[in-house]
Subunit: 203 residues, 2 copies
Amino acid sequence: MKIVQTKAAPNPRRVRIFLAEKGIEVPFEEVDLMQGAQKTPEFTALNPFQRVPVLVLEDGTAIAETMAICRYFEALQPEPALFGKGPLAVATVEMWSRRMDLGLLLSVAQAFRHLHPAMAKLEVPQVAAWGEANKPRALEILKIMDEQLAGRRFLAGEHYSVADITGLVAVDFMKPARIERPPALENLARWYAEVASRPSAKA
Amino acid sequence: MKIVQTKAAPNPRRVRIFLAEKGIEVPFEEVDLMQGAQKTPEFTALNPFQRVPVLVLEDGTAIAETMAICRYFEALQPEPALFGKGPLAVATVEMWSRRMDLGLLLSVAQAFRHLHPAMAKLEVPQVAAWGEANKPRALEILKIMDEQLAGRRFLAGEHYSVADITGLVAVDFMKPARIERPPALENLARWYAEVASRPSAKA
């Protein structure tokens, strides 16, 4: 078993944090997206969508998509539960996971991909107006997170979950995307300090 | 219990198909997105992200996000399993669910939202170049689906799953988004004919 990744990209980091929280060790193999490694026939056979990370099982079966890889390991080793336990917790974690994923991380990634000169070869066409439109979206979501975090420790409640992992990775990705975290958002700052100080954040 | 929706929107349709496949009946309450119903204080209290659908439980707890609502009902009533059973099936369904969701449905929705005159008030700013950039993305994904469907009945294997639901809704949403399904994609056409003819597709 191995995970094919590009270490600097945000999605592989989500998987590494997830595995660190589970205490699971899997060997990683590095490919260089900037050099077009995802476009080779070998990589395309693993993932026709040409994205990292990809989990490759012993028999060669390939599982792409960050959340699919995380769910594979959650099903193999349910504790600690990072996708919630019981219908209401499962739904609440998924709700916040998607708000972080399709909301915050996607907005930050769009700003990065459509505005950063280093992405000109990967994001074709770069649409600067769309990159700019995503910055206020990201800031709006941070404000909602701050309001919600007034009443609880983590995004989906009192337990750390995969929603916090995506939230942390998205907030850190704001730096290369050149979006500043408003310092007035104190609940967000408290949450960030806690999730960023867990040993898994360094994975 | 009730689900707040806008019937014509693609995400509530995903929930209706999911519930029909499960044989679960829940009352729906209609709100009019085009009239700004999602921006009222009442609706914003249910979902600060101002989107439909929202599941409201007896005690007032609100669960937003299509996939979170579906997972709530999957956890309450596991059969028929629409998110897969066992680690490999769970991961495979999630992989295809996300490819349909963040890949196909998102591309089609971006084309619709950024190009259709009716969306000018909801999508601010409309970035036409971004809408256009999403059309070839959608077509690329259809091509990959066609290749993959050569070897199997449904997107995630031999069992119908939530990935097929999102795939069907995304393909149907291509009509208002003005993206034509290439008739040469015969495996895709066979799959579409099967999933569109299930009674749930009319839900």
